[in-house]
């Protein structure tokens, strides 16, 4: 991947990484959206969307509660979508390695968010005097610095991850030996398992939710029967 191809994807990763927490939290950073947008940039939106669906199923489990540490799905899904779309049609194992790459980046992204929050805290400590004096310059300066570092974090993470992962994963795909349908079955099966587990975790305390879930599953299976 040459740098000129990388730049727009890294910028997209920065912007969508920013959406996770800092601005505007409009869920542009959800895997469904982020991976599809990356797919659009690479020229294969549908491949990006499929990677986004698989990652979204896994991300359902993540509830971004305040100070908890969680995977960063925005930049990671841009990486996953770009990798999946970059493979184009055909190579078996492409979806598996794209999703695996995105999961690794989501893990690293969670750590980078933790680092950014600590840097923000140190800046806030150093600005205590201005804050206690009610200086708007200090308040706005901290806000702008926080937004800037988060944007840079997402862009560097996305660009760096693609630089490392794209050649590595292309090499892996060239050695792939499992049947393409089975490969897709494994990756989506694992993600659907995480999603079903997440649905239980989130909704099991709600009265009657399990019956709603089972009723929904019956409807889903009936629709599959009708579509085939």
């Amino acid at each position: 991947m040459i740098l000129l191809d990388l730049l727009p994807i890294a910028i997209l990763g920065g912007l969508l990484g920013l959406d996770v927490v800092s601005f505007p939290q409009a869920m542009l950073s959800r895997p469904l959206v982020a991976a599809t947008l990356a797919g659009v940039l690479v020229g294969h939106p549908l491949h990006g969307l499929v990677a986004g669906v698989v990652l979204e199923l896994i991300a359902l489990e993540t509830l971004p509660f305040g100070a908890s540490r969680y995977p960063e799905w925005g930049s990671a899904s841009v990486v996953g979508g770009a990798l999946a779309a970059g493979f184009g049609d055909g190579p078996p194992g492409a979806l598996v390695v794209a999703v695996l790459g995105a999961l690794a980046v989501a893990w690293a992204g969670g750590w980078t968010m933790f680092v950014v929050r600590r840097i923000n805290a140190s800046w806030a400590r150093r600005s205590r005097e201005g804050l206690e004096a009610g200086s708007y310059r200090t308040v706005a300066g901290l806000q702008l610095a926080g937004l800037t570092i988060d944007l840079a974090r997402g862009a560097l993470l996305t660009g760096g991850a693609l630089l490392v992962l794209a050649p590595l994963l292309h090499a892996v795909v060239s050695l792939w030996s499992v049947d393409p349908r089975i490969s897709r079955g494994v990756v989506v099966g694992v993600s659907a398992t995480v999603a079903a587990g997440a649905a239980w975790k989130i909704f099991h305390t709600t009265r009657g939710a399990r019956w709603y879930f089972l009723g929904g599953a019956a409807i889903g299976l009936a629709v599959i029967g009708m579509l085939e």
């Binding site: 390695v97 600590r118 050695l175 989506v188 239980w200």
Partner: protein, 254 residues
């Protein structure tokens, strides 16, 4: 209830726009505190003495201290605290009120949005994908639906806070906040049941045998995950299984 003092449309828009960046400098010490100060600032300019007056500076210093809440419902706090500053309430009272708001605004917002509205919209989008929706419909539909609720909640929260000031607590008992999370959770459970098999089916393609095996495996895996009671995070499990699968596929070739 007293009639709230007038805030110009420009000031309201300024505050409302800044709310989207309320977590811009989120950190482990003051959490949302600096963001609250940043958002409330345009409303403080109307205090006696104007921008550089002691009332403005004292209020901005007070509002930039530690604060924690759900980022969308923090708008209730921004509105209510701005109103309290305009009503010239005593500083100790404002600080006590500020502390008391953190808990409820956090827990209600987390249940309503992170554990309700977001999964519901996401699952609906997955269901649309499962029945054959293309990128524009899936992504566009998700963003429109989610943000209709998101933006409406932020604007309602800001207006409710400003209208009620320190007496905002009864407004937090609004039906949408009290019963909303439960209804949304039920709807999301129903849609989860529909969306998961549909999305699974579309990604693996036609063929009943593989789909049947997959569904049985998914149910067994989900039961196992549920029994582990959150001791294992699903995404870590997925990472481990997929890494092992990739290794298997590559080594088998060699």
């Amino acid at each position: 209830m007293t009639t709230p003092p007038r805030l110009s449309l420009r000031t309201k828009l300024n505050v409302a726009t800044r709310l989207f960046a309320i977590q811009g400098s989120w950190n482990y010490e003051t959490l949302l505190g600096n963001g609250v100060g940043f958002c409330i600032e345009p409303a403080l300019r109307g205090l006696p003495g104007g921008c550089d007056g002691p009332a403005y500076r004292e209020a901005l210093a007070r509002q930039s201290r530690y604060f924690n809440a759900h980022p969308y419902l923090a708008a209730v706090a921004v509105g209510a605290l701005a109103r309290a500053e305009h009503d010239r309430e005593p500083a100790e009272r404002i600080e006590r009120f500020r502390t008391a708001l953190c808990g409820p605004l956090g827990s209600v917002g987390d249940r309503l949005v992170w554990a309700g509205w977001l999964p519901l919209c996401s699952l609906l989008a997955l269901a649309v994908f499962g029945v054959g929706g293309g990128p524009l419909l899936v992504v566009g539909g998700f963003l429109l639906l989610y943000n209709a609720g998101h933006i409406a909640l932020r604007l309602w929260a800001l207006e409710t806070g400003w209208r009620n000031g320190l007496r905002v607590a009864p407004a937090l008992g609004a039906p949408v906040l009290r019963h909303g999370p439960e209804h949304v959770a039920r709807a999301a459970a129903l849609v989860a049941g529909i969306a998961i098999p549909l999305a699974l089916s579309r990604v693996i393609g036609p063929g009943r045998t593989l789909l049947g095996v997959e569904l049985v495996a998914v149910v067994a895996g989900a039961v196992l995950l549920a029994r582990l009671h959150g001791r294992v995070e699903g995404w870590r499990l997925a990472l481990g299984i997929l890494a092992a699968f990739v290794l298997f596929s590559v080594l088998r070739n060699g």
